[in-house]
Amino acid sequence: MKTVNANDRNIKKAPDQNYGPFEFISAMTVTLMLLLVCVFTLAGQDREYSENENRNLAGKPIFSLSSVMDGKFMEDMDSYLSDQFVLRDALVRTRTDIDIFIGKREINGVYIGKKHYLFEKPSEYDEKRVKRTTDTMNGISAAYGEIRNYVAIAPNSSEILSDYMPSNAPSQNQTEQISKVYSNLNGFTCIDLCGPLKNADDPAALYYKTDHHWTSEAVDIAYRKIAADMGLDPSAYSYDNLAVTNGFQGTLASSSGIFSAKDTIRIPTCPQDIMYRVTYVNEGKTCTTVFDQSKLSEKSKYDVFFGGNFAQIMIETNAPSDRVLMVVKDSYANSLIPLLIPHFKTIVVVDPRYYTDNVQEIIEREEVTDILWLYNANTFLNDTSIYGKFN
């Protein structure tokens, strides 16, 4: 009983004995910090836009009885104060440095890999969801027996660059996932992209370090494989890849807040003798290039291809071909479609995530002869927008 008492006394009394002028100074330092932060935040100029976060920052909340009553004013005040906090960007950057220093390898759903590579979390295989998608695709192939159906699902960086993933990070075998998807499909030519990409000379160059897309090197390999399987002749046209920016910091950098690396985006040169016209159907805009150079000065530089994702894009060419291709796709296709231009009379690009109508209408209107489904594995496995686009 006695020893317990002695312990209690030690614990309770220790701080008292130790309090001296030093604590006073440290408390005063904290007080000063509190007051300075208060003054700086209130007196400082409000920033409107954050480059790092790519969004407008919260402004001063508007005071009204109803906004106070339902608590909106208080919420807005909190986001206003933290958004306009002095040195906000530097503080956030310090936090990521601390996190990485103490060993964290996953921030905001992004894996922090080796050699500055960032990785998107690989999607899981959800039988029901995939089945709904593949059933829709099978429905189209069954309805139009005369149309050639191709499907190409690209693996993501977590599959090809698994050596660069953080040790033990949970992964998915995408090669297996993709062949499982392929085995669900009837009447399709299934194009295997995993093999060629895995055998590339320099796998590290196939994906951006800071973004979840594939690079022009990967597109080059994929194009050769797709062309071969679709019966196109890639050697008929030669092209070069031109670097258009080396300051690309993509989605993975943004969501993790790690801006330590920069990527280079390359775009292919078009064969001289091919002319084409690009129509953004819903936007009613027509132009003569698939590249939107203005995006290079913005945050999302990958949008240099087609200017981003659009519901329906028509590309009409003077290529010596009578094939009409419909590409149903996600953003991985944006950098590959430019290479297909010399091979088709018309290419209709459909993004089911934005295209709300039935694809039947396009197939019949344009007298489509070939359909290519071009996706990356993560998006395809999570997709819920293909279902319902055909009945």
Partner: protein, 159 residues
């Protein structure tokens, strides 16, 4: 010293508590006897020209996946353009118990839309982030629009 009589203030305060409980229950249940047309008409007046067009109930089912049998009536406005996410839904329910179900359906719709427009159009995404979803008893109000606050105020007055 003469003893003070505290009974009156005590009873008054108990009455105040009961009053508060009744008030908060009314506030919580809300609800309206007015028809959906009476509620929505003044709100629609606030809509600016070309901001949204009236949609059918079928459109509402398509967008939100809601069960029409559980509603007494609904008004759905949306912009026709793919590039404009503005929309407004006012639903009067048969039973206030289903309010949560409808809120979830609306929330799912908003999340889907947010995922769609994240890359597409930051300004539209910002509108979705600031959308208003409110329940007052048997009516659910949802709005994504530049002037969502104004529309909500008009709706509250109309209840």
């Amino acid at each position: 010293m003469k003893p003070k009589n505290y009974l009156v203030p005590e009873l008054l305060l108990v009455a105040a508590l009961l009053g508060f409980i009744v008030w908060i229950c009314i506030l919580n249940s809300g609800g309206t006897q007015k028809s959906i047309e009476e509620v929505s008409a003044p709100v629609c007046l606030v809509l600016t020209d070309g901001q949204m067009n009236k949609k059918t109930n079928t459109d509402a089912i398509k967008s939100f996946g809601i069960d029409l049998d559980k509603t007494e009536g609904l008004v759905y406005y949306a912009n026709d353009s793919v590039m404009d996410v503005s929309e407004m839904l006012i639903v009067k329910l048969v039973s206030a118990d289903d309010a949560q179900e409808f809120r979830t359906a609306i929330q799912n719709r908003v999340t889907d839309q947010e995922n769609l427009y994240k890359n597409y159009a930051p300004d539209q995404y910002a509108l979705l982030e600031d959308c208003i979803i409110k329940t007052s008893g048997n009516t659910v109000f949802y709005c994504t629009a530049k002037n969502a606050d104004e529309l909500y105020e008009a709706y509250k007055k109309a209840l």
